[in-house]
């Protein structure tokens, strides 16, 4: 039986592949069940943002959006519902993906897009982080075009039921096992509690100046793909007649003015899009007690900023 090495090898290979398919199916579905049954934590928030968010105001952005905008305060002042769909480490392609799905469900009344100076610069990792969308591709095939930015084979990798849940097992198990230890979702807002001391702030700013000087050539390079995504985001909002605020939230130490003015210039091309730059605001600039680290406001700073922005919305957006 199977004396020919070819038949022996390919026969067993076939059996082994069938075994792999079966395991992939079973394990993949188990992981899917675990993933979509997360009650608290970042995965649950991401699932809500992608599958369900339908509030009047949606806040898009990266970790700065997640830490800087308190939807509860904005909702209280504006009397509109609000959710923060920002995600740590994500960039403009991700915001476009979430925006596309959100607008299919319900048109929000206002979109707030938090940007920063480096949002449009060259950084290949901004596309790699789109792996966050992989688990949702099965239910939302329109996301596949975004995940193809990761690699041209990404679409084919999705034939595996397990692959979309790559790197999630530990966090899913932790969330499931220690659910009571995880804070409840505060409309997507995740404030940072710590405060930066003056000494720490000075030290960090010095380090940043050295690093910026060293990488000045790279830091200023504009990525055409990111610009295209930024235009896509604004175009969709504008075509749907949704008021959009592109906001540069407060910074401890100012990032590149040139890059920020480029963001402002792009915004001018769209109706219903307003660009607001809080990075120059004296209320926050160099105010270390309002920051948790070099790039993020702490809870005190975030609440103050959210309140200020909400009042601006109330005065200049809602009443017009």
């Amino acid at each position: 039986m199977l004396s020919n090495p070819y038949s022996k090898f390919f026969g067993r290979l076939l059996l082994f592949l069938l075994l792999l398919l079966a395991v992939d199916f079973l394990l993949g579905n188990a992981l899917r069940l675990l993933f979509f049954n997360q009650k608290k934590g970042q995965i649950a928030q991401a699932t809500y943002s992608i599958d369900s968010a339908n509030e009047d105001i949606l806040i898009f952005g990266s970790s700065r959006a997640v830490r800087h905008y308190n939807p509860r305060i904005i909702a209280d002042i504006t009397s509109l519902t609000c959710y923060n769909v920002g995600r740590d480490g994500q960039r403009i392609p991700f915001y476009c993906a979430v925006q596309e799905l959100a607008l299919q469900r319900k048109k929000p009344k206002l979109i707030i897009l938090d940007m920063n100076a480096t949002e449009l610069t060259v950084d290949p990792s901004k596309f790699l982080k789109l792996t966050l969308l992989l688990p949702y591709c099965k239910n939302h095939p329109e996301l596949v075009k975004y995940i193809e930015e990761i690699s041209r084979f990404e679409r084919y990798k999705l034939y595996s039921q397990v692959y979309p849940f790559n790197s999630y097992l530990f966090i899913m198990l932790f969330n499931a096992l220690f659910e009571e230890k995880i804070e409840a979702d505060d409309f997507g807002f995740q404030p940072l509690k710590r405060t930066l001391s003056e000494e720490q702030a000075e030290k960090l700013i010095q380090k940043k100046i050295t690093a910026d000087h060293r990488n000045s050539a790279i830091n200023q390079l504009i990525d055409p793909k990111s610009v295209a995504y930024f235009n896509q985001f604004l175009k969709l909002a504008s075509s749907e007649n949704i008021k959009t605020l592109v906001v540069i939230s407060p910074e401890l130490d100012q990032e590149s003015k040139l890059l920020k003015s480029q963001i402002g210039d792009i915004c001018k091309n769209y109706s219903n899009v307003e660009f607001i730059d809080y990075s120059t605001s004296v209320k926050y600039h160099a105010q270390n007690e309002k920051f948790a680290d070099l790039f993020h406001l702490n809870e005190i700073g975030a609440n103050e900023f959210s309140s200020e922005l909400a009042q601006y919305i109330q005065k200049n957006v809602r009443n017009h």
Partner: protein, 476 residues
């Protein structure tokens, strides 16, 4: 084309199938053509550089074999100059210009040398050393000059080991390209198993740790001593898994075609001394330096001081071989220094252990392993740092060791890093200390073998990093 890409999987499957389907006499051609395609997937034009050295070495070797006496030596020198010349121009010229520029700026004069707008052809250092070993062996009479141009070209172009080794010797590989190799079930299974282990090392360990390592080493100003120490340790593991993972994929893919390549790593972080480490790390390179540089310099059959000089020189050359940057020179110099100190006090250490009756003591064993790992890890800081300035910044930051470390991608990312290291440690421990136990992939029960392989594949799918980029040693 990267080994850790779907392109490679498709390429490998097609080439291996064609290899066994076509008649034996055309196999060299399919392997050579696919190797050229593999290489041209990086920067196509650079194949011409390899082509130049291949033509030179092929004809020179045939002439060396015919010649006797002085003519033979002259031909060998010509071939070495041609090979090293290409390497010097592409790899070291701009580094040289940089240094001349620095010196001339100190003397307030303009740099007299222009920069060359060239990229280093991928894997050039590996290719050069493999080509040189062929001509040296023909010169020494240990290897007959290969008359078949296609087979000789394949020897230096064979795609599994073309861009990052193992740096083969002609005696080991050339004759295999002439053999009629039948399709073998065992070769296929063993080869695929070795490849799977390589992919596990690369995708689960190396590329996972690289996320943390890159964050720290690319932003040296922002990280405290604890983070630098963690990143240096992670890099030690990363570079091992990256490079040995590549070697395993190379060895495994060659094995499926019935071709045996040399072992390149033997659990190096279980080494008990730097000397031991170099017997386990990048074996094909360290034996190359031993055979073609250290021994011709006199090796250890010279005076004590000359021996130390030889050791130091070999490691300095090894450093510069890795890259045209002072960081690599210092990395090599540190290893040279370690080896000199280790050789100098070797007798004393052995006598001490004997006097204290500590032979075979596990605590001493563990201490030696840990101490060697620390010494090696320190050198990796220079190896990984983007510049000498960065390396010194990182070392200066070590002063704040003990402060709260940076967590990289958060606790989830760190948990993946620790898990990856534990998986590696468990398997390496088994390979080093329990070679005859827990051989799950060769277990008599098929269910156990298949369960182990299935677990390996799903470990990659669940914990692997699929966008980790290229192998570190490709740049050399």
């Amino acid at each position: 084309m990267l080994f850790n890409s779907l392109e490679f999987v498709i390429f490998y499957l097609i080439v291996t199938c064609i290899y066994f389907v076509i008649p034996y006499r055309f196999r060299w051609f399919i392997l050579l053509a696919s190797s050229c395609y593999f290489y041209m997937a990086f920067v196509p034009i650079y194949i011409l550089i390899l082509g130049f050295t291949i033509v030179v070495d092929y004809f020179v070797a045939i002439e060396i074999e015919k010649q006797t006496g002085k003519g033979k030596k002259v031909l060998l020198i010509c071939s070495l100059i041609a090979n090293l010349g290409v390497l010097v121009v592409f790899k070291y010229y701009n580094f040289f210009v940089d240094n001349v520029g620095f010196l001339s700026s100190q003397l307030f004069i303009k740099n007299p040398l222009p920069y060359l707008e060239i990229l280093l052809p991928i894997g050039l250092s590996f290719h050069t050393f493999q080509a040189m070993s062929y001509n040296i062996e023909v010169y020494r009479g240990n290897q007959k000059a290969e008359k078949h141009f296609g087979v000789y070209s394949l020897y230096v172009m064979f795609y599994p080991q073309l861009v990052a080794g193992p740096i083969e010797r002609p005696q080991n590989v050339l004759h295999q390209f002439h053999k009629k190799i039948e399709f073998s079930y065992d070769n296929m299974v063993i080869g695929l198993r070795i490849m799977l282990w390589g992919f596990i090392k690369k995708l689960i360990v190396a590329d996972r740790l690289s996320i943390y390592v890159d964050s720290v080493f690319n932003n040296p100003d922002f990280h405290n001593g604890t983070s630098v120490a963690i990143a240096a340790f992670f890099f030690a593991i990363q570079i091992y898994c990256d490079f040995s993972g590549y070697s395993d994929i190379a060895i495994g893919s060659a094995r499926t075609m019935g071709i045996d390549l040399m072992t390149n790593f033997k659990q190096p972080y279980f080494a008990r001394s730097i000397k031991d480490f170099w017997g386990r790390w990048h074996i094909s390179l360290s034996t190359w330096f031993r055979d073609y540089l250290y021994i011709p310099l006199g090796g250890s059959r010279v005076s004590e001081y000359r021996k130390y000089f030889n050791l130091f020189l070999v490691f300095m050359v090894s450093g510069i071989w890795h890259g045209a940057n002072w960081t690599f020179v210092i990395w090599g110099a540190l290893h040279g220094f370690y080896r000199i100190i280790g050789t100098w006090n070797e007798t004393f250490r052995k006598r001490m252990i004997s006097k204290l009756h500590l032979e075979g003591n596990y605590i001493v064993y563990g201490f030696e392993i840990a101490f060697t790992l620390c010494l090696v890890t320190l050198t990796w800081i220079f190896f990984r740092a983007n510049s000498l300035q960065d390396a010194f910044t990182l070392l200066a930051n070590l002063k704040s060791f003990g402060e709260k470390p940076f967590l990289g991608d958060g606790t989830n990312g760190m948990a993946h890093c620790i898990f990856a290291i534990l998986v590696l440690l468990a398997i390496e421990y088994k390979l080093e200390f329990l070679p005859k136990r827990f051989n799950l992939t060769t277990h008599p029960l098929r269910a156990v073998r298949w369960a182990t392989l299935t677990a390996g594949i799903f470990l990659i799918l669940i914990f692997g990093v699929f966008n980790g980029g290229q192998f570190i040693y490709f740049q050399f």
